[in-house]
């Protein structure tokens, strides 16, 4: 992470989860998790509720279709999905 606090300022429970994900993946857990778990009252908690409703909640689009839109947009933004 470019901001050291996002690396070091995680709750212990989240540090454990990140370590487990890292072990499971065989590589560093995605930084997006660190970003949404850092100071969750400022951003991550509220973003997560919206994201979950949009990506998993009732919709005319299937979950797979919505994930495909997200992957496509990330590609256009040159952002690893």
């Amino acid at each position: 992470m470019r901001l050291k606090k996002i690396e070091s300022g995680q709750k212990l429970s989240k540090k454990l989860i990140l370590a487990l994900i890292g072990l499971k993946l065989g590589e560093r857990a995605p930084d997006v998790l660190r970003t949404v778990w850092y100071r969750p009252d400022f951003f991550g908690k509220h973003y997560g509720r919206y994201l979950n409703a949009a990506m998993r909640g009732p919709s005319e689009w299937s979950v797979g279709e919505r994930e495909l839109f997200a992957a496509f947009v990330s590609r256009l933004n040159e952002c690893a999905f």
């Binding site: 901001l3 400022f42 689009w61």
Partner: protein, 131 residues
Amino acid sequence: MKSDATSQKKNRIKPAEPGRHAEKINILKDRVLEGPGHSDPRLRQAVAHRVAAHAGALPKDDARLPPEIGRYIDKIALHAYRVTDTDIEALRAARYSEDIIFELTVSAALGAGMARLKRGLSALTGGEDAA
């Protein structure tokens, strides 16, 4: 069968959706752009506005950001993948704390996301400014 498929397809893009997540979006915007933090909320709002203006969702405004913030924010708005450690170092050198940099970065990302959402929904409802 064909007409069924067609009407189903029409249903999928009927423009009844824009308000579906409005409450959650408003909470998110309120918290990030107006809530307590290490940075002045007015600075966060100016950042989000500048990014939205880059995306064509809001008119340009002349709210002046400190130049080092402006350079960083413009980079996020136009090509976030080009941000490097050097950009963060420049902000640190200008005595911005990591929490302030975090808040301004989130504000910029939110401004960019909301601008895209606005233009996308506008396209669904037949708006002409979504090109």
